[in-house]
């Protein structure tokens, strides 16, 4: 029974793969329908898709200018000096 379900509506492994593929490529009509049906029956994969998108947003926000721990002034001076030297 489970095997038939997987052929018709995908396994969770395959469903999560399509969820990722969807972020980069257009799914075929068949893939779209299978994924839709799968998610209707599977909370875990529905959570996965929401969270995958959240993680995408989080990574886009990533670079955080407040986390600078180096001595910025010394760093700048150093760069300026190097630029002088290579002139």
């Amino acid at each position: 029974m489970k095997k038939i379900m997987h052929i018709l509506f995908l396994s969770c492994l395959k469903a999560t793969e399509l969820i990722e593929k969807k972020l980069y490529y257009k799914l075929s009509f068949r893939e779209k329908m299978q994924l839709k049906m799968h998610k209707m029956m599977c909370d875990a994969c529905t959570n996965y898709e929401d969270q995958s998108i959240i993680l995408d947003h989080a990574m886009q926000k990533g670079a955080n200018p407040e986390n600078i721990v180096i001595d910025l002034e010394a760093f700048k001076k150093n760069i300026l000096k190097k630029m002088e030297d290579t002139k």
Binding site: S11, L13, L55, M59, E66, F75, K76
Partner: protein, 185 residues
């Protein structure tokens, strides 16, 4: 004496910090990030005559830096990116169903406020750093370049089929790591 020289010094003053934090985030290596930013300004000094002012200096500097970061990635990957089907067993049984304890749980996040939480970003960064290098490279490249899948594939020399499968693997691990370290604490 020239106007360019004056501008460059000003750009160092104004943008070095931002360029540095961006580079650190992307390569996860402070010393390497410093070198990249320094190289960026040296390259900028060389090419400043080519800078026509079509874009802002900041955009121009960032594009030079990004190019150098991609170069670092390319060397790291060194055409050895490959897709290893093993390891899915951490998440799925042999029929492809979630292991019970690995099923994505409800995060109960009605809003995305936690995305701006610096502690959350630290967890995310730690989880990114914990990815095997070649997966991490693919994931970072995506957010660095904002390119589409096919272009990134060309960049690192993987086939498009491999690309989302690598991302799939990386995301499974990343999601699991974030859930463990942020949502269950």
């Amino acid at each position: 004496m020239t106007k360019e020289k004056h501008d460059l010094a000003g750009w160092v003053e104004e943008y070095a910090g931002e360029l540095y934090s961006w580079a650190t985030y992307k390569v996860s290596d402070d010393e390497l990030a410093k070198d990249l930013v320094q190289d960026t300004f040296l390259a900028a000094a060389e090419k400043v005559d080519d800078f026509k002012g079509n874009s802002s200096p900041k955009t121009w500097l960032f594009s030079i830096l990004n190019y150098k970061i991609i170069d670092v990635y390319r060397k790291k990957v060194n055409k050895t990116v490959s897709y290893e089907p093993s390891g899915f067993s951490d998440f799925f049984d042999e029929e492809g169903s979630w292991h019970l304890e690995k099923r994505p749980k409800d995060w109960h996040d009605q809003d995305d406020n936690f995305l701006d939480d610096s502690d959350f970003q630290l967890v995310l960064k730690a989880c990114l750093d914990a990815l095997p290098e070649k997966w991490g490279v693919c994931v970072r490249l995506k957010y660095l370049t904002k390119k589409n899948g096919d272009e990134i594939c060309q960049e690192v020399g993987v086939s498009p089929t491999n690309f989302w499968q690598i991302i799939h693997r990386a995301k499974l691990q990343l999601r699991d790591c974030v859930e463990k370290n942020w949502f269950q604490n």
